[in-house]
Amino acid sequence: MEISEIIHEQSYTRQIIENKNSYYGFYNAGSMSEFDVIVVGAGPAGASAAIKLASAKANVLLVDRADPPGSKNVSGGVLWGDSLSQVAPDWEKGPVERYVEAKGVSFLTKDSRISIDFRSKKFGEYKSGYTVLRTKFDAWLAKKAKDSGAMVVSGVTVDRLSMKDGKVIGVEQGGETITSDAVILAEGANSRIAIDSGIKKKPSDRNIALGIKEVIKLPEKTITDRFGLSSAKMGFASEYVLGFLEGGVRAGGFLYTNKESLSIGAVISMGDLRKNNQTYSFNIIEQFKEHPFIAPLLEGGRVEEYSAHLVPEGGLTVDSIYGKGYMIAGDAAGFTFSNGLVLQGMNYAVVSGIVAADSFLQRKEKGIEAGANFSNYMDNLSGTFVMKDMKNFKGVDAVTWSKSIHQTIPAIAEEAMLNIFSENGEPKKHMLKILLKSMAGRKESKKELAVDLYRMMRRL
């Protein structure tokens, strides 16, 4: 079925045909567009935008190419912060998995694990995050959008943006144009529409990484006990530097607890994988799973799902996040954050979606013309943590993907720890001496390490 038929059918069944001259009957005065806003992509960015717009009585079409909406969406799995409460105050009662009460960061070498395992009673006062499984969670969010009054169409793939005189006037699908005063493009990291419409370049090795994940089923109680969690509602989330991989391919790992499953995955450098050209991407996660300090955590588990998704890296992936008649939100714009300690994307998606919606409403208040330039989106976003983080942590990927973080520091730390904690009947040495000795055995230049350490101080 083409999109226009679906829209007509939905309009009819929902009895919102008020204007006999129109199938749609819900456009704003002065505009000839069928919709105020078409939101492409029902992830956290798109759904948040749609909820916000529909709640303000704008006429919104939220279209997702998956059916049910969200069933092609993947993420590692922690939704940090509380931004979603702006559009869905009850989101914590939605299909969330566990509240993160324990946060880990580990370096893994071939034989060792060097970890920070942070647990705090204060995670009740300071918001951390919830683990989520996106297929369930995003369907729930799309339903919220529908309940707020947005039209939600799933299983329909938008072909490209519809352009007229250099302005976006809607979307094209199946040879037809559906018009709107604005399009919010929230199609995710693999942004075909933006690329095919000429507003985004194809990603390169530098600005994406490859995320591969598995969901591993385990009994609820086993998870709670194994990770030392205080209840079945509480969870553990950890990031790993995988410094032991064959062929020296750099990758980060993650392990999160859901109610009755674990989400485990690897985020792999495309550039390294290309340079190596003999390691299969799908085997890297297996190496991670088989690590002597990871395997026991997965014991008895059954793999239930395998998935893969691109991860935007190193800041904005588009030249401009707005233009005439459109705004880009979420992963499609490159709104993700990683400093090695934490991996975030969904909260950035939510905020950018909401700000895009606000920016439309702001323009509408002043009487919007089809194809208006949404420069106010950038202005409004600049005041939020989304753009501030993008700016303040620009270049952080040079640190998180550095050889020092992935190989040199873990190796030095491992040797130093072995020296400190093993008793060999010799007099003990001072810490500094141990560190210098550990460093001396490395072939990497001290200069390289010093440069990376300096970058770390500046950028982390």
Partner: protein, 90 residues
Amino acid sequence: MKIEERLSLLNYKIDKSYEHITVNPSICETCPDHFCTFACPAKCYSLIDKKLNFKYEDCVECGTCDTACSHGSVAWTNTKGGHGVKYKFG
């Protein structure tokens, strides 16, 4: 766990009338690296008798191959009509 076994866990609604990714065999024939075979997480690209074999049916629509192929062989489009991979968890 073998990749084939992991892929067999997935649900797909396969579009028999539309291949959303196509490759240009004449480019692949002279490709010096076949990086796609290492990059694709769903093993859609493999070498059989030194010839590149591509199957779109196992694709999880991540978009990796479009960036991986630096020789312009991959033509990537979205699946249509709700076809393709359908995750249970995501």
